[in-house]
């Protein structure tokens, strides 16, 4: 793999420095209307950017103290985190907060400076969002259910060492009910298989220690069929390829041990062709606008593909392997 990558033409190399600069610039674009319109994603964005930087081997490219201060400034009394100060608490931003604090090794800061009793407060916010009858999780007090939230809950709680606060068996039952005959999973029972939802279900089953429930052969087939055209991956049958599925599809294949069921070199080439060679950052497809979401999931995808010079990423948590090892031991 590494030899093949080295043989690629020069314009198809990963332009690490430019990506680092691009990510560093994201919080300085305050004269950009889009910056204000996307405040509801600030904490998620910080997680995406920081993860990309860690995988690129530049973990210190964002100031640690400011990062921790910002994360803690998003917390509510109930323990949950909003996307930014003044935004309501939500599962998605709470999970991002926990992941960021894990990455910068700051659970002690959460314990000391977080609301209420630190970790436990965050844990109880997340646990309260579980529907004890069905095992599902809501995104917030208004009650939308989705396997994304279930995965997020298991992800954050296991990092915090608080998985016992929820009914994991019920959660697993719910995931089993989301399975389709093609081996994939949807956003809920009855929903068609979708690569990103598959990632959440397979990763949640991994955390719960129940990968035995996965129909590995059928799922592997479905996932490998996501590779189309010039080598990019799509999220559902008969959809266009998109660089972010480099993560959702590939991490799922990794968790079931089937990454060799797709063509690595053409996927690497596709991802690299989505880079903005001038400004840094990675887009969904070649020539499109870049954003931090496609940037991180392209880079973590490249890491799974063994692209040279990248730090290894954990397929279940979407965090640097070193972080997961440090936190979970």
């Amino acid at each position: 793999m590494s030899e093949n990558a080295a043989n690629l033409p020069e314009e198809l190399q990963l332009i690490t420095e430019a990506h680092v600069k691009y990510i560093q610039s994201l919080d300085t674009r305050k004269d950009d209307y889009e910056y204000w319109l996307t405040e509801h994603l600030r904490l998620n964005g910080l997680y995406w950017g920081l993860t990309a930087l860690h995988i690129l081997g530049h973990p210190g490219a964002l100031p640690r103290d400011e990062t921790i201060d910002f994360v803690l400034s998003c917390q509510h009394e109930n323990g949950g985190f909003g996307a930014a100060p003044g935004h309501d608490a939500h599962m998605l931003s709470t999970v991002s907060a926990v992941q960021i604090l894990a990455m910068v090794d700051a659970f002690d800061e959460l314990q000391a400076r977080g609301k209420g009793n630190g970790r436990a407060q965050v844990g109880s916010y997340i646990a309260d969002l579980q529907n004890r009858q069905t095992g599902t999780f809501a995104g917030d007090e208004w009650g939308e259910h989705d396997t994304r939230f279930l995965y997020g809950a298991l992800n954050a709680l296991s990092l915090l060492g608080l998985l016992h606060l929820v009914d994991v068996d019920k959660a697993v039952e719910h995931i089993a009910a989301c399975a389709n005959f093609d081996g994939g999973y949807g956003s809920g029972p009855g929903a068609e298989s979708h690569a990103a939802q598959i990632f959440t279900c397979v990763a949640a089953l991994s955390i719960a220690g129940r990968k035995d429930l996965i129909d590995i052969d059928r799922l592997g087939r479905w996932l490998s069929e996501r590779q189309v055209g010039r080598g990019g991956l799509n999220g559902r049958p008969e959809k266009k390829e998109d660089s972010c599925y480099s993560w959702w599809v590939l991490s799922s294949l990794e968790m079931i041990g089937k990454t060799h069921w797709i063509d690595r070199d053409s996927l690497v080439a596709f991802i690299l062709s989505c880079q903005d060679l001038q400004g840094g950052g990675i887009a969904d497809r070649p020539g499109d606008m870049v954003d931090v979401w496609h940037t991180v999931f392209s880079i973590t995808g490249l890491s799974l593909l063994g692209y040279p010079g990248l730090q290894p990423v954990d397929a279940v948590y979407c965090l640097p392997k070193s972080t997961v090892q440090r936190v979970l031991g």
């Binding site: 509801h40 003044g86 309501d88 208004w142 009650g143 005959f181 069921w261 020539g287």
Partner: protein, 428 residues
């Protein structure tokens, strides 16, 4: 970008450089937006959920429907004054509508105080007052006494909920993949169940199917719209809306969608999910089930004969074929078929697909199906492939490697597995 999800899909890259004039316009927009946002936040901090705040949320959400906190502010504004006071809690996450008895969802409690006293905090009414004003088994008709304040409050709620549904339509048309708009709409519909007479709220819910139709006509694969349709149908079937099974009409709907477009993968998926329930509810006996399977197989075979490159068709064919295996934990169309009958079905399909090869020697999906179904046949008959089957498997794998080199690793694994062919292969 079409919405403000912060994620650019399919937006062509343009220069980040702006002219001085563009910068000025941008600065102006930012200032206006932030002023509006500050106004909303200041009211929230003061806990002033007034109609004025409600209006501000309309303005802000039209600019940025992804701003989930503002949808929550809007909900709180409604609960805090615009909608009538009621006894039930406001958290829809606790509702499990498909099982809730009708008694819990009849007329909301009488709000004797004027519902326009918008500045008052949401103090829950005592539930006894509500119970005395209506009987649990009162059917779905408007209250007989038109002067009833409950009726007036309900009428007002109905108008507000209607306006809220209208409010989200242009936003959905502009941002059909924005989770928050769909969620808000469902929350409003849930309010209809909790606040309005069953018949009234049922009519409102029924109209949702029209919206889904519209959204699916614009994008037949929008999984938000498909998921929304599933949810709406579930509710319409539930006792909270005095519903009954809609499995027959839903099944017909998939037939209609498939006729319009054979490649509608999402419609095929929905069909596969409905079938077990459809047959159960028809109390189908073995004969009927077998007929059903025959009809579906004939239908799909006919389509495959003219469109063997269509992934959706093969997907549904695979689903039908899986029904011929003892696929543990999955309901089957014809569960009482003998192994001999199953083998006969599978053989028939394999023979037909082999015929396709004569006209279409270069479609990988055909080879994949042949491989898959031949291994299924061996599984049903509890044996390993015989020597002629092995030869065919080798040939088909060779073709797959030729036609689909991207998945070479998978074909190589399969080749290895076929070579070893331990007992129980394919039962994974």
């Amino acid at each position: 970008m079409a919405d403000h999800s912060g994620v650019s899909h399919g937006v062509a890259r343009t220069s980040r450089e702006r002219t001085a004039e563009q910068k000025l316009v941008e600065t102006e927009k930012i200032t206006k937006y932030r002023e509006l946002e500050d106004e909303v936040r200041a009211a929230v901090v003061r806990n002033e959920y007034t109609p004025e705040l409600f209006q501000l949320t309309s303005k802000l959400l039209r600019i940025n429907p992804e701003y989930y906190t503002i949808w929550n502010v809007r909900r709180r504004s409604l609960i805090s004054g615009l909608l009538s006071k009621r006894s039930a809690g406001s958290s829809p996450s606790k509702a499990s509508p498909s099982t809730s008895p009708t008694a819990t969802t009849t007329t909301p409690s009488a709000a004797s105080s004027s519902s326009s006293s918008t500045a008052t905090p949401p103090v829950p009414e005592s539930s006894t007052a509500g119970k005395s004003s209506s009987t649990a088994d009162e059917p779905a008709f408007p209250p007989s006494n038109p002067g009833d304040e409950t009726a007036a409050a309900e009428q007002k709620d109905r108008e507000i909920l209607r306006l809220e549904l209208d409010f989200t339509i242009p936003l959905l048309m502009k941002s059909p993949k924005c989770y928050w708009i769909w969620n808000y709409r469902l929350w409003i519909l849930q309010q209809a169940i909790e606040r309005l007479q069953v018949a009234v709220s049922r009519r409102i819910w029924e109209e949702e199917l029209g919206l889904v139709e519209k959204m699916l006509n614009r994008d037949k694969r929008n999984f938000h719209a498909w998921g929304y349709r599933r949810h709406v149908v579930e509710q319409l079937e539930s006792s909270s809306l005095a519903g009954a099974s809609m499995v027959e009409t839903e099944f017909e709907y998939t037939t209609k969608m498939i006729r319009q477009d054979l490649s509608n993968f999402s419609a095929w998926h929905r069909r596969s999910k409905l079938i077990p329930r459809l047959l159960d509810e028809r109390h189908a006996d073995d004969m009927v089930r077998k007929d059903f399977l025959d009809r579906e197989l004939n239908f799909i075979r006919e389509k495959l004969n003219v469109g063997p490159e269509d992934y959706s068709l093969w997907y549904y064919h695979q689903f039908l074929m899986l029904n011929l295996l003892n696929y543990v934990g999955h309901p089957t169309i014809a569960p009482t078929l003998t192994n001999d009958e199953r083998a006969a079905y599978i053989t028939r399909e394999i023979d037909d697909i082999k015929d396709l090869l004569e006209d279409y020697p270069d479609y990988k999906l055909i080879y994949e199906a042949l491989l898959d179904y031949t291994l299924s046949l061996c599984q049903v008959e509890g044996r390993k492939p015989d020597s002629s089957e092995k030869e065919q498997l080798i040939e088909w794998l060779r073709q797959l490697k030729r036609l689909d080199p991207m998945r070479d690793g998978r074909w190589t694994d399969l080749e290895r597995d076929c070579g070893l062919l331990k007992l129980g292969f394919g039962k994974n």
